[in-house]
Symmetry: C2
Subunit: 307 residues, 2 copies
């Protein structure tokens, strides 16, 4: 069993109304790997970094069962860099700067040793790169999970439509689901999006939790009400990592199985926002995670007597 993770490994600089980070390690695939490696191994990483990316970060991940054969290092180039500033609500943000750098001409190569993976997790990247990875797999994975964003809907919709046809699960946020479907009601949006390919749709609503749609079924996973959201960066990727990591450990890709995986994803994402970057994710133990999952159980658990 293994999970291939495709995505950026990069630098971020983050401003919130309460704090400001230096240039710190980030990137979708980084968060996904830190998160998923709590539940399964190996994670098989596909990404590209510049000469400036700390080898120590790759070594720490390798020690957790994250394979780096698919991570290209372009010594004479710089890693992808994003900087952004969150608004007071911590749900919306402005991009201050984006430097594509190594991502500009990234051509992913799937190592022979990665062939036969059960799950392919396509983190947020250009649909062309995502499609290239799908096409390089000799045997189709049992489950393909896709994360994408409004930027690709605006600039690469034809390629994104091709990718959507290939995937089993799509993860987007509520405004992206509305944009993709041209429907305001999330129930209607889900119906339209599932016609585009995905059999399962997860709509992430940040502090308001997440919805899972599958055919006529719907499941609502809460977000843990938090005292403080310190830095939301990477929460969606951390969610995705917990989701696929847990699914790889159970191999239950049914609606029921996905429900559990979403709770796990939500639980681990709730840690991510407590500190800058991946800091909090590095500290987690099995006990800490189990306790948090138990909080989710208590958060929504009720007994009802119909009178």
């Amino acid at each position: 069993m293994s999970v291939i993770v495709v995505g950026s490994m990069a630098f971020d600089a983050i401003e919130t109304p309460f704090a400001k980070s230096n240039k710190i390690v980030g990137g979708a695939a980084t968060y996904i790997a830190w998160s998923a490696s709590n539940f399964t191994k190996p994670i098989q990483q596909i990404s590209v970094v510049g000469g400036d990316f700390p080898q120590e970060e790759l070594d720490m991940l390798e020690a957790r069962g994250v394979q780096m054969e698919g991570v290209q290092r372009k010594k004479d180039k710089k890693s992808f860099f994003w900087s952004g500033k969150y608004h007071m609500d911590m749900n919306t943000r402005d991009t201050l700067e984006t430097q594509l750098n190594v991502l500009e001409d990234f051509e992913p190569v799937v190592p022979a040793s990665y062939q036969g993976a059960d799950i392919l997790m396509l983190g947020n990247l250009s649909p062309a790169v995502q499609l290239s990875v799908i096409e390089q797999l000799k045997e189709p994975p049992k489950l393909i999970v896709l994360d994408t964003m409004n930027f690709w809907m605006d600039t690469a919709m034809p390629e994104l439509e091709k990718v959507l046809k290939e995937v089993d699960v799509l993860l987007v946020n509520d405004s992206e689901a509305r944009q993709l479907s041209a429907q305001y009601s999330l129930v209607r949006a889900a119906r339209e999006i599932m016609k585009m390919g995905p059999k399962f749709l997860v709509i992430k609503k940040g502090e308001h939790g997440a919805l899972l749609f599958h055919g006529d079924h719907v499941f609502f996973a809460p977000a843990l009400p938090l005292d403080e959201v310190f830095d939301p960066t990477g929460a969606g990727d951390t969610f995705a990592g917990g989701f696929v990591g847990y699914l790889d450990s159970t191999k239950d890709f049914s609606f029921e199985g996905m429900k559990s995986a979403i709770i796990i994803g939500s639980a681990i994402a709730s840690f991510c926002v407590e500190k800058f970057g991946t800091t909090r994710l590095r500290e987690l133990t099995k006990n800490t995670i189990d306790e948090r999952v138990q909080q989710f159980v208590e958060l929504v658990n009720f007994d009802i007597a119909l009178v």
Copy 2:
């Protein structure tokens, strides 16, 4: 067992992006009574109407076990009137017109036959009116539930603070909780608000569900994802009505009991938004409600195996 309901019985005129109503029957106490009377009787109404309010509406409610002795009719005056226009998101609205009319000098009188009620439901009205009802009760009710809004926080905060000291449960929406506590985080807001008096706090988040706080405990009730929200007017009052009606039928005022009551309130509020005004609430049967509650159970029910 009985529930005293205090609030407006009035007229509304509603515009949504999709439809426009005539002047129709509305008012917090009207919605609360329609909703609560599905679960318990008698409901003991305290309100004031003008000569223009349809006797038929009062008769229909009476037939459901809603007592009208505490409803004053001012024949030579007009009923309270509100008109508003919803934005595209159906969560925010602009008030187009407010005519206080009979509410201008409303002095509630608690009939002798209402004394000894188990629950007092204070619907959204001026804190002075709410306080007057509390003071007229010879025996304190087992449970006092308060609904209020930002308008009273802006204009009558000293009186509102007095009412808050007397109540067991406060119902507000998320922006009102933030305003009342001067805290952005709802967890911190809840902590501050519970210092003001209420032992239980329900924060309503519309399509994002509701949170129940009590001491260090928190419970998250989802909203049912809907194809269409036709008219959100009265959903909060309908929620309150289901909440107190169910609690009066179970008499379980513990945290566990409140959790169930919030699910019932959410379920019945999900009907309210399907048609204009109280139309949908008039059609409900026990079976329809039970089926909807079952949908809520399925919406959040999950099993998790920690690996």
